[in-house]
């Protein structure tokens, strides 16, 4: 996985709450057996009209936000299904950071597996960031993972929390499976023990 360090880019505002995974990527696009190429259908039903033409009113279709690398979204972002196609599409579009007041659990986990940084901020900070994101192409925020800081286009600095293990993996682009396989002997030991305690499993 690519190492995550710092993002300096345009932040797009999506204040709607409860943006679900069906909105992020509708099921018609889940029929792929690949991980790549989904950016074009990110937010498909909001982004395109029924005839396939772009909806000019949708934030990521506006000239200022077409290259957005950060998304500032409403509460409970990513609720719904476990489809990893949602973060795959976000990543493929070019968005590397999603900021909200809360995320759905599975989506939140899935982001880290794909080098996307989901950041949870307090309501008061969310208001500041959303306002900043509304400034269009001038809304260039900086997200610095090492320092755990977001800097708005006005220079306001907002700190954020992140699980240390997840931070370490993102910063170093570590592959979870490889890391876990280093602990193979613990798994062997557990299997031996559990196999005796619960042989019916």
């Amino acid at each position: 996985m690519e190492k995550f360090d710092k993002v300096h880019g345009v932040a797009a505002p999506m204040p709607l709450i409860n943006i679900d995974t069906d909105m992020i990527i509708p099921k018609v696009h889940l029929k792929t057996i690949k991980r790549s190429g989904l950016g074009v259908v990110l937010f498909d039903e909001m982004r395109y009209h029924d005839d396939g033409q772009e909806n000019e009113d949708f934030v990521l279709n506006k000239p200022a936000y077409r290259e957005a690398e950060i998304l500032v979204a409403g509460d409970n972002f990513g609720c719904g299904s476990s489809r990893e196609h949602a973060p795959w599409a976000i990543k493929d579009f070019g968005i590397k950071v999603v900021i909200s007041t809360s995320f759905a659990d599975i989506f939140f986990n899935n982001c880290f597996k794909n080098g996307i940084l989901p950041i949870v901020v307090e309501e008061e900070h969310h208001v500041i960031l959303m306002e900043d994101a509304h400034k269009g192409e001038n809304a260039r925020m900086t997200v610095h993972l090492e320092d755990q800081q977001i800097t708005t286009s006005d220079g306001v600095v907002i700190e954020f929390d992140i699980d240390p293990h997840r931070k370490h993996c993102l910063l170093n682009g570590l592959d979870d499976i490889g890391l876990t396989m280093e602990k193979d002997h613990h798994i062997d030991k557990f299997e031996n023990h559990a196999g005796q305690a619960r042989p019916w499993v």
Partner: protein, 467 residues
């Protein structure tokens, strides 16, 4: 020893390794796999030259993509769907995992097949690349959905990297009123907590009304724990659980059954154990409910009216306005006046035998409204066979319902069963998101009995009027 919750006990029994910062490797007892979220995971294994660590604990079945019409015996027409199902056929064979192919009578929705075959047992950890894995919590198993990267992780290592969630108790006291079902309980809870109310928690459902539910009802309740944002939902196993499990093909037998029972009987929350959040609802207060909006938290009794966006606060004002517009409703409109054109009975939420019995009970000797499109999609081939044996299939067919083969069907519209733009469906499934059942389609979630009532009258209907 300090008192533990049921979740604490199952968690503790499955930690294979704990790092200093509390990050754990949680051992997975059962890994369920379907065709949509697994191809990239198997591909990842192949690219890295890795194997499935515990194929004997891995069970696969195609469900999301498969058509539910009888002509599916001739193959799947949609090329993309066919490729996904064929990929699962191949992956199951190449990696030697248990498999129920499309033509097997045991095929069905993964969350119905697992319990039916006795793969799901009390005290287990169960995962699947599907958010409705929460269903298996009904057995007192810690069960939750995972993404495809985690599917690959479990295939390769039989573990997940996890941090423990907080404990939440949802108690439903007392008895349910006639016409009120497990679906009404689970929707009412989400209406109370909101779709993010359970985020960060594992819920244990308890109380008299939960105890009195069958396993089918308990699965319905736990199935929608995810719609409340929780990682998982749990119900402590009891005699109802043990009776359901006993004799299933993959349930323990003989001495192993006795040994299992000894452990299973310890799987309850100890007196005085700590819950970080507690919600209590009176069973008597729960009415038959329906959803009016595009979030499962948009729940109201069928006797209510469509709310006004200004009834809400914060971001929900805009969200409610958007929902009401999408749903083509008017604030103040009586929910029981909302006309529908489609009825869908099925899904991992309500596609079990008891659900079909409840719907058939209402439909017996009646006809669906003229022009109504109504379908029953049993959750598995075995549910279908049982319903045919019990005469339920004839009741549905006589009433005017289509009697389908097992699959996820119209719950998520990845297969030919879909709504057209503007069509309005009374659905026993779990999500009413925009476009969930087809682009522009409108979904009202409700119980199987309420869905049957709506099919007869052609509008959302209080089932108690037909009882």
């Amino acid at each position: 020893m300090s008192p533990k919750t049921l979740y604490d006990k199952i968690w503790d029994a499955h930690v294979a390794h704990e790092a200093d910062d509390g990050t754990c490797l949680l051992y997975i007892d059962r890994h369920l796999v379907h065709e949509v979220t697994s191809p990239q995971a198997f591909e990842g294994l192949r690219m890295a030259g890795r194997n499935v660590r515990a194929p004997e604990k891995t069970i696969a079945v195609p469900d999301h993509n498969v058509p539910t019409t009888p002509d599916r015996v001739h193959g799947i027409e949609n090329p993309e769907s066919r490729i996904q199902v064929e990929a699962l056929d191949k992956n199951a064979k190449d990696f030697g995992i248990h498999y129920y192919p499309v033509h097997d009578v045991r095929q069905g929705i993964v969350h119905i097949v697992g319990p039916e075959q006795g793969w799901t047992l009390p005290g287990m950890t169960v995962v699947c690349g599907d958010s409705h894995t929460a269903t298996h919590g009904a057995f007192g198993a810690l069960a939750h959905g995972i993404g495809t990267s985690e599917v690959e992780h479990v295939l390769a290592t039989q573990t997940l990297i996890q941090k423990k969630s907080k404990n939440m108790k949802v108690e439903i006291t007392g008895k349910l009123q006639p016409g009120v079902t497990a679906k009404d309980i689970t929707l009412a809870v989400i209406g109370e907590t909101g779709t993010a109310g359970g985020t960060g928690y594992v819920i244990e459902y308890c109380g008299e009304a939960i105890r009195n539910l069958s396993m089918e009802g308990r699965m319905t309740v736990c199935n929608m724990a995810i719609e409340g944002g929780a990682r998982a939902g749990l119900i402590a196993p009891d005699d109802t659980t043990f009776e359901y499990v006993k004799g299933r093909p993959h349930a323990p037998k003989g001495a192993q059954w006795e040994a299992a029972m000894d452990w299973w009987k310890t799987l309850y929350t100890d007196e005085g154990a700590h819950f970080d959040k507690v919600i209590t609802l009176r069973g008597e207060d729960i009415a038959p409910v329906v959803t009016w909006g595009t979030s499962p938290e948009d729940v109201l009794p069928i006797t209510a009216t469509v709310p006004h966006p200004n009834d809400f606060e914060g971001g929900k004002v805009d969200a409610a306005r958007r929902s009401i517009e999408y749903m083509g409703l008017e604030a103040g409109q009586k929910l029981s006046d909302v006309e529908i054109d489609t009825v869908f009975i099925g899904s991992c939420t309500n596609g079990r035998i008891e659900d079909l019995r409840a719907a058939a009970e209402i439909l017996k000797g009646k006809k669906i409204k003229d022009g109504m499109r109504a379908m029953v999609v049993p959750g598995s081939g075995l549910v279908r066979a049982q319903a045919e044996e019990e005469g339920l299939a004839d009741i549905f067919k006589d009433a005017g319902f289509e009697w389908r083969l097992a699959g996820c069907s119209m719950c998520l519209a990845m297969n030919p069963d879909q709504l057209q733009p503007g069509e309005r469906c009374a659905a026993t499934s779990n999500r009413n998101f925009e476009g969930r059942q087809g682009r522009g389609g409108r979904t009202h979630l409700l119980s199987p009995a309420m869905a049957a009532a709506a099919a007869i009258t052609g509008r959302l209907t209080d089932v108690r009027e037909l009882m």
